[in-house]
């Protein structure tokens, strides 16, 4: 590509198609305008490009740049006319829904799950030889599901082939049909023991659209997810997207392959982590699902909690978390039956917004639980490889772990990014910061940010074309920094000092004691930095080790600096009245709700 000065990018979501314009000004890429329109995959339009053109038209009106000539995108850019490239992501029609299979559930089953999730799929079920289901139950389940695609793995290269062939026989017996259209065969990717490939071909070749990829677990000690993920993306375009209304036209319009929305977000997270050399956790809480992404020491993981969301799945949050878990975040009492009805009314009318303060507090309480549960699920999957015989040294003698440790090390987390309506559109930014801190409970020093207008999908595809352009927009326009959370670790007696602090703020130096169970809040703007010194008590670790002084620079944001002395995990007063006082006190410190 010769020149990349103007980019138009769209994300075709289930309900809305969002377009953004990115322009290079003074050698720096910036996001300048955005437009949106309802997605038009459903009747009466049944053509996704209709919504794309409408969203682009809104960008045209706002920017004054002519992008469309009828239904054609003008390229390349020339003055105030045209763009250099058009790129897109898509999650319309429920995104990419996959079923995965592996021989051992905790080994190849998990690897297959990580592979599909990382490619941006929703995993409908994980089938394994040892999943406890009878063969006929497995076959019935495969038949019921109607996934977009199946990923079959199992066995290390050179190992036994019978188990993975047996799984293939189950798939063949189920003769599964794809979700869209009955006129084509279901795509199946085989990424297991390469010695079994001929037998798999014989079993599934004539019944499915079979693609053989490299083994995702060639050795017990190694995972090789990249090649199979690429195959998933290719098949997503060729088979799944091509069946959806209008997508053939959309594929022809774009200058880079269309990516599943979460796959693109994951790519952007990895790019940002790599360029800044930081550990990142990101979350996108939507109406139906919550996606969690993490990059720790370069290892990327993504999970999607398919039934944790703020509208369509809001009732499920209540069902999974339990009423008490939601109620513990509310400083007032609500009748259980009344709360249940309110939540169901939100489920059946997902587009309504909280008018009353009390309703906003209920929604934010539910969001805390949805985020917390999604993160629990993420931690369970973002683990080291299981079944690996690690070489043990003398220093490991007392370490009884057997592989599969969580890769999520909260103390090593540098940046926590939130996105999705309830986080991005909270009336006060400090509410977003409070929800992220309460749900994820970061430890040590963690910077918080929110994706301003959910631009990460667009930037993810852009990063596949021009990494520098994507990173520039990500840092300058995509993220709104909320500030920094400083949470010393260790349980103390409620009210007793856990650390002494000194903060050198632009407005003047401040010092004092952070007590166990307390929150402290200091204003510090996004472009400001402060020097912080913490002298923790003997049993408390501020990041430099128990009882050791820590001095570091911390950055500000819309919610400033939050010193969190509440311990990990957060401890709530058992008594309902005391707990309400506790919540009110935290809320007052943060000033996160209006006083009356």
């Amino acid at each position: 590509m010769d020149k990349l000065d103007v980019v138009i990018a769209t994300d075709c979501g289930s309900t809305t198609t969002k377009a953004i314009l990115i322009e290079k000004k003074d050698e720096v890429y910036r996001q300048t305008y955005r437009g949106e329109a309802p997605t038009t995959v459903e009747a009466p339009y049944e053509d996704v490009t209709r919504g794309v053109l409408n969203a682009i038209q809104e960008v045209e009106e706002l920017s004054g740049r002519q992008i469309l000539d009828g239904e054609t995108i003008i390229a390349p850019a020339d003055g105030n006319r045209g763009v250099d490239i058009y790129i897109s992501t898509s999650s319309a029609g429920g995104g990419l829904q996959m079923m995965v299979a592996g021989v051992i559930k905790a080994m190849t089953g998990e690897s297959a799950q990580r592979c599909a999730l990382g490619a941006g799929a929703i995993v409908m079920d994980v089938l394994a030889s040892n999943d406890g289901r009878q063969p006929h139950e497995k076959i019935e389940r495969i038949r019921q599901l109607r996934p977009d695609m199946v990923l079959l793995s199992g066995g290390t290269d050179g190992g036994t082939i019978s188990h993975v062939v047996e799984l293939a026989e189950f798939i063949a017996a189920a003769d599964p049909k794809p979700r869209f259209g009955s006129g084509y065969q279901l795509p199946v990717i085989y990424a297991g023991n390469r010695d079994a490939a001929p037998e798999i071909e014989r079993t599934l070749g004539h019944k499915t659209a079979l693609t053989i990829a490299e083994n995702i677990r060639p050795k017990l000690e190694a995972e090789n997810l990249g090649p199979a993920r690429h195959v998933i993306h290719d098949l997503f375009l060729e088979h799944v997207m091509a069946q959806a209304p209008g997508y053939r036209k959309l594929i022809a319009m774009t200058d880079a392959p269309i990516m599943p929305t979460p796959g693109a977000v994951g790519l952007m997270m990895q790019t940002a982590s790599k360029r800044q050399n930081i550990n990142v956790v990101g979350v996108d809480i939507g109406g139906a699902t919550t996606d969690v992404f993490s990059v720790f020491d370069g290892i990327f993981n993504r999970t999607v909690s398919a039934n944790l969301g703020m509208s369509y799945s809001v009732s499920n949050v209540l069902a999974e978390a339990g009423l008490d878990s939601v109620m513990r975040w509310l400083p007032f009492r609500l009748d259980e039956a009344d709360l249940r009805d309110r939540i169901k009314n939100k489920m059946i009318r997902p587009t309504t917004i909280p008018h009353l303060l009390e309703e906003l507090q209920v929604e934010q309480a539910i969001a805390r639980e949805a985020l917390r549960l999604a993160f629990v699920q993420h931690r369970a999957l973002a683990v080291g490889l299981k079944g690996v015989q690690a070489e043990r040294t003398l220093s490991d003698v007392f370490d009884q772990s057997s592989g599969g440790e969580s890769l999520i090390k909260m103390r090593a987390l540098d940046l926590l990014v939130g996105s999705g309506g309830v986080l991005s559109h909270a009336p006060r930014r400090v509410q977003t910061a409070a929800m992220l801190i309460d749900a994820f409970q970061p430890e040590g020093i963690t910077r918080l940010a929110v994706d301003s207008i959910f631009m990460m999908p667009h930037l993810g595809v852009l990063s596949s074309v021009d990494e520098r352009a994507a990173t520039q927009v990500f840092e300058r326009d995509c993220l709104i920094y909320l500030g920094t959370c400083i949470a010393p670790i260790g349980q103390g007696k409620l009210g007793a000092a856990c650390a002494q602090y000194e903060i050198d703020l632009p407005s003047g130096a401040q010092s004092g004691a952070l007590n166990t169970g307390d929150l402290l809040h200091f204003s510090l703007e996004a472009d400001e930095e402060a020097r912080l010194t913490l002298r923790p008590e003997r049993h408390i670790d501020a990041g430099a080790g128990p009882g050791r002084e820590l001095t570091t620079a911390v950055k500000g944001g819309a919610a400033g600096l939050i010193l969190d002395g509440r311990g990990r995990p957060l401890v709530f007063a058992e008594d309902r009245t005391q707990r309400a006082d506790q919540l009110r006190q935290w809320s007052e410190v943060l000033d996160h709700y209006p006083k009356n």
């Binding site: 062939v165 017996a173 369509y312 069902a319 309504t352």
Partner: protein, 372 residues
């Protein structure tokens, strides 16, 4: 955002409706284009592949998978009867012979030389698709199904459980505010679709089921009652396949809430008429709402399905979130600028005049148009 989303449920005396009646797999269409069909008439049928049963013979016969074909008495594709021998060993001493019998009647589908697994498939299961509404076939989807068209009353509910059913409408409540009590339902409800005005309590739904009613329609339902009715907490709003003995449709929402007067009036006017209903609700992409259809063969057609008046002054609406949840009124003013509401959310709003003359400012996203 260009405009606030104001979803509308259709409540109309005259609509032209088309319903696609499709098989889960390809099969045979039983009617032709132009045919008049009735709600309980079969329009398409097919056979679903039978269930699969597996048997790992290498463990039973103590042989290797490669040796397995030598022991088989039946070949792939052969029909088998339950209990019929399908494989046996041939030891020197007959007394040690092991015979394996077919676990089901059907077809022997596959013998694996890699895993030793033998697959049996039960005979196909027939499925039929009914017309669901009285009308005429306007389009045939070859081997897949038909599109049936009708004209008549069309009312969309907000939430439902249970699938498609039909029967005469049986309006019991005297008005949209009335909460039915169980003793108002009797043997006369059998085979009918019962209509109440306000809340449908658990007792009333149970009584409707006992009396043999095929469906029940009301203004609201309590979530706690729904949980008891289903036996589980409904997490995601995808319904329609519940097997609870009848279909339930609520027109307004969860909690005690009166049915919109217009909806109630339309149902009362059609008391006794043959009605088709479906409780199927799906609120994710491709919104599906429960529906009440009363076909009227010679209805003078005025409004096409999909006609919308839009959010204009004077338009009838219903507030769909606290603090005015469930109240009905009309648009009094549409101020264009964003306003901050109590939660400090800045939103586009409208001024509503409720039926009792009270006025209030509400977010546009928190109202629902009651469409003609």
């Amino acid at each position: 955002m260009a405009h606030a989303y104001t979803p509308g449920l259709r409540v109309t005396r005259q609509a032209r409706l088309q319903r696609q009646r499709q098989l889960p797999l390809k099969g045979e269409v039983a009617v032709a284009q132009g045919d008049k069909v009735t709600r309980d008439q079969v329009v398409a049928r097919t056979d679903l592949p039978g269930n699969v049963t597996t048997l790992n013979l290498v463990n039973i016969l103590s042989c290797t998978p490669e040796e397995l074909p030598n022991y088989m008495l039946k070949r792939e594709g052969d029909a088998v009867e339950v209990g019929e021998p399908i494989a046996e060993t041939r030891p020197f001493i007959k007394w040690f012979k092991t015979t394996v019998k077919a676990p089901i009647s059907g077809t022997l589908e596959n013998i694996s030389k890699i895993t030793g697994q033998v697959l049996f498939r039960a005979p196909p299961r027939p499925v039929q698709v009914m017309a669901y509404i009285d009308g005429s076939v306007v389009n045939v989807l070859p081997n897949e199904g038909v599109i049936v068209e009708t004209t008549g009353v069309f009312v969309q509910g907000i939430f439902g459980v249970g699938g498609e059913t039909w029967g005469p409408l049986h309006v019991i409540s005297s008005g949209p505010d009335e909460i039915l009590s169980a003793d108002q339902l009797d043997a006369e409800c059998a085979g009918k679709i019962v209509v109440g005005g306000n809340l449908l309590t658990r007792e009333v739904i149970d009584k409707a089921r006992e009396t043999g009613a095929v469906g029940i329609i009301g203004g609201g339902i309590r979530d706690a009652d729904l949980r008891d009715l289903l036996g589980y907490d409904l997490g995601v709003a995808i319904t329609g396949t519940e097997d609870i003995g009848l279909s339930v449709i609520v027109t307004e929402g969860f909690g005690p809430i009166a049915m919109a007067r217009k909806t109630f009036d339309i149902l009362r006017e059609n008391n006794g008429k043959e009605t088709s209903i479906s409780g199927a609700t799906q609120i994710r992409a491709g919104v599906l709402r429960p529906e009440i259809i009363i076909p009227e063969a010679d209805a003078a057609h005025r409004a096409e399905e999909g006609d919308q008046l839009g959010l204009v002054e004077g338009a009838h609406l219903r507030a769909i979130r606290a603090p005015h949840f469930g109240r009905v009124g009309k648009v009094a003013a549409l101020p264009p600028e964003l306003q901050m509401v109590e939660s400090e959310t800045r939103v586009r709003v409208l001024e509503v005049e409720f039926e009792n003359g009270d006025r209030a400012i509400v977010p546009r996203a928190n109202v629902e148009l009651i469409e003609e």
